[in-house]
C-alpha cells in the first residue's frame, strides 16, 4: 500500500496508508463515533464534501452488502480509519471496503490514530484537510490547503435533478430531496405512503399542485443558510400542508420562521446522542449527523416551540410550529445506522397528516 498523508489546516500531519481510490482530495474533516453502520454512513449524502473519520478502530469487517446503501452515488470525500478489514466476514458481504471505495472513487486512509485525530478536531473544531501522496513537501501541501475553497452548493450536488416516484398505495407524500437517505423512503413506504421525490429547488406552487397529504424535508449536507429559496418555499408551504423536517429540513423550517442557525465546533455525528422530549421527559438515544444547529435564543417562542433537546450540550433537537401543522427533528428517526428510538416520529407524521385531512376535508 502507498504511504499517504493527511494534513489538517492547523498543520497537524497524520501518516497512513492509502486504499480505495488513489485520488487526492480536500474537504472538511469530521468524525463519526458510531461502532457499526459504516456502509450507511459512507453512503449518507450528508457527508458530502467531508473527510469521514471513524473513531471505532476496525472498519469494514462485515464488508459491503447490497442492502445497506443510503445513496447509490455517495459523495463522501474520503474515509479515514485506524484499520480496515481486508477480508470481510459476513453472509451478506459482496466486496470489501477497498473494492467498494475504488468503485465509488473515494480515497481511503488507514493506519491513522483516529482517536488522536478526533481529539484534535474536538479541540480546534472541524477544519479543512487534505489527503495526498507523501512525495510532496509539507509547506507545499499546507499552502495548497490554505488556498482551497470548499464548495457551498453541496445540496445541488447531491439532490436529484429529476422527480421520481417510490410507489405505494396510500397517503400522498412529497419528499423534497436535499440529499435524502434511502431509509427515509423506506420508512414512509412501510407506513403506506406513496412518495414523490422532488429536486431541492422545487417551488412551493409545484408541490401544492400535486395536492400532497404531507411534505417531508430531508437531511442534507452543508449550511442551511445557503438555500434562501428553500426558506421561501417552506414559508409558503407551511400555510397549506403538514410538514415534517429531518436534519437539514429541521434547520430550514427554523430559518423560515425567523430562527437562526450556527456552525457547531465539531458537530454531532454518531448514534449515541441522548435527546430529551421535553413534554414527557423521555430520553431517546438517537442517530445524528449534523454540523450546524438551531440557536436556542433565536427561536421565536410565539411561533415555534422547542420540543426536544440534546442533554449533553443542550442543542435544540426538535421544533413544533404553534400555528401550522409543522414539526421537525434535528436527529435521524430513520436510524440507519443507529438506534430505533425515534421511529415513532414517522408515525407522528402519519397521524398529523390523517388528522389534518379530517380537519380540512370541508375546506
Amino acid at each position: 500500500m502507498r504511504k499517504r498523508l493527511l494534513v489538517l489546516e492547523d498543520g497537524t500531519v497524520f501518516k497512513g496508508y492509502g486504499f480505495g481510490s488513489p485520488r487526492e482530495t480536500i474537504g472538511e474533516v469530521v468524525f463519526n463515533t458510531g461502532m457499526t453502520g459504516y456502509q450507511e454512513s459512507i453512503t449518507d449524502q450528508s457527508y458530502n464534501g467531508q473527510l469521514l473519520t471513524f473513531t471505532f478502530p476496525l472498519i469494514g469487517n462485515a464488508g459491503i452488502n447490497r442492502d445497506d446503501y443510503e445513496s447509490i452515488f455517495p459523495t463522501t470525500r474520503a474515509v479515514i480509519v485506524k484499520e480496515f478489514a481486508r477480508r470481510p466476514s459476513n453472509w451478506r458481504s459482496q466486496m470489501n471496503l477497498d473494492e467498494f471505495l475504488k468503485e465509488k472513487d473515494i480515497p481511503g486512509l488507514t493506519g491513522v490514530d483516529t482517536r488522536r485525530l478526533t481529539r484534535v478536531i474536538r479541540e480546534h473544531g472541524a477544519m479543512k484537510a487534505i489527503l495526498t501522496d507523501d512525495t510532496r513537501s509539507i509547506e507545499d501541501i499546507t499552502y495548497q490547503l490554505s488556498q482551497a475553497k470548499l464548495p457551498v452548493n453541496q445540496v445541488e450536488q447531491v439532490s436529484t435533478t429529476r422527480p421520481y416516484v417510490s410507489p405505494q398505495n396510500g397517503r400522498k407524500v412529497v419528499v423534497v430531496d436535499y440529499g435524502l437517505k434511502h431509509s427515509i423512503l423506506h420508512e414512509l413506504n412501510k407506513r403506506e405512503c406513496h412518495v414523490t421525490v422532488l429536486p431541492h429547488d422545487t417551488k412551493a406552487e409545484t408541490i401544492l399542485n400535486l395536492k400532497p397529504d404531507g411534505v417531508m424535508l430531508t437531511n442534507g449536507p452543508g449550511d442551511p443558510k445557503d438555500l434562501p429559496q428553500a426558506h421561501e418555499m417552506v414559508r409558503e408551504l407551511q400555510k397549506h400542508v403538514p410538514i415534517f423536517g429531518i436534519c437539514l429540513g429541521h434547520q430550514l423550517i427554523a430559518l423560515a420562521n425567523g430562527a437562526e442557525t450556527y456552525k457547531m465546533t465539531f458537530g454531532h455525528r454518531g448514534f449515541n446522542h441522548p435527546v430529551r422530549e421535553i413534554a414527557t421527559g423521555k430520553i431517546d438515544f438517537t442517530s445524528q449527523n449534523h454540523g450546524y444547529a438551531v440557536s436556542d435564543e433565536s427561536v421565536n417562542k410565539e411561533e415555534l416551540m422547542i420540543t426536544h433537546v440534546e442533554i449533553n450540550d443542550g442543542t435544540v433537537e426538535g421544533l413544533r410550529h404553534r400555528h401550522h401543522p409543522v414539526f421537525s427533528v434535528q436527529y435521524h428517526p430513520d436510524a440507519a445506522p443507529g438506534p430505533h428510538d425515534g421511529a415513532g416520529l414517522f408515525d407522528q407524521f402519519i397521524e398529523l397528516m390523517d388528522a389534518w385531512k379530517v380537519e380540512n376535508k370541508d375546506a
Binding site: 416551540m305 404553534r322 397521524e351
Partner: protein, 180 residues
C-alpha cells in the same frame, strides 16, 4: 358460535404521542396555560388529566390544577338522589373565570360529557369549557364535539372500546372488542 374478538388498535407509544400532541394543542389554543384547569372525569379521565398536567408542567414550567370530576350523580339515567349533587364533589379550586378542559378517555354518546358540563356549571361559571378525549368513537346522541382528539376510531354500537391505563390496569392500551 363465534367467540368475541379483541383487537389492539392503539398501543402504548401511540397513547403517549396522542397525549403529547393534545398537550401541545391545549397550550397553542389557549396561548399559554394561564387560568387553565384540567377536569378529569373519573376514573381514567383523571389519570389522563394528570398525565397532560405533567407534560404542561415540563413544557411551560407552570403547574396546572387538576379537578377530579365524579359525574355519577349527574347522569341522565339516574332517577333518585338529585338533591345530594353538591355533596359528592370534594372541595375544588375556584373555577369562576377559568378555562376548564374536560378530559376523558372515550367520547361516545356524549351523555357523560353533558353530565360533566352540569357538574362544572354547578361549581361556578368558567370563561370557557373545552373537551379533550383520547378516543372519539362516534355515534353521538347529543350535539357535543371534542376540541382535542387523540385518535378517531369510527365504530358501530355492537363494538366496545376498552381503554387500559397503567394507573389501574396492566398496560397502556386501547382495544376494540367485537361480539358477533
Amino acid at each position: 358460535m363465534q367467540k368475541s374478538s379483541k383487537i389492539e388498535v392503539v398501543n402504548e407509544a401511540a397513547i403517549e404521542r396522542a397525549l403529547t400532541r393534545i398537550t401541545y394543542e391545549i397550550i397553542e389554543k389557549n396561548k399559554g396555560v394561564e387560568d387553565l384547569i384540567l377536569a378529569g372525569i373519573k376514573t381514567r379521565g383523571v389519570f389522563l388529566a394528570h398525565r397532560i398536567a405533567q407534560r404542561i408542567g415540563q413544557l411551560e414550567g407552570q403547574t396546572v390544577d387538576v379537578l377530579e370530576l365524579d359525574i355519577s350523580l349527574y347522569r341522565d339515567d339516574r332517577e333518585d338522589g338529585a338533591d345530594e349533587k353538591q355533596s359528592t364533589l370534594s372541595h375544588t379550586p375556584a373555577i369562576k373565570g377559568k378555562k376548564v378542559v374536560i378530559v376523558d378517555d372515550v367520547l361516545y354518546t356524549g351523555r357523560t360529557i353533558r353530565a360533566a358540563l352540569d357538574a362544572i356549571i354547578d361549581l361556578g361559571r368558567p370563561d370557557k369549557i373545552l373537551l379533550a378525549v383520547l378516543i372519539d368513537r362516534g355515534n353521538r346522541e347529543l350535539p357535543i364535539r371534542a376540541d382535542f382528539v387523540g385518535k378517531n376510531i369510527p365504530t358501530s354500537r355492537e363494538e366496545t372500546i376498552q381503554v387500559s391505563l397503567k394507573e389501574t390496569d396492566e398496560a397502556d392500551q386501547v382495544t376494540i372488542i367485537k361480539t358477533p
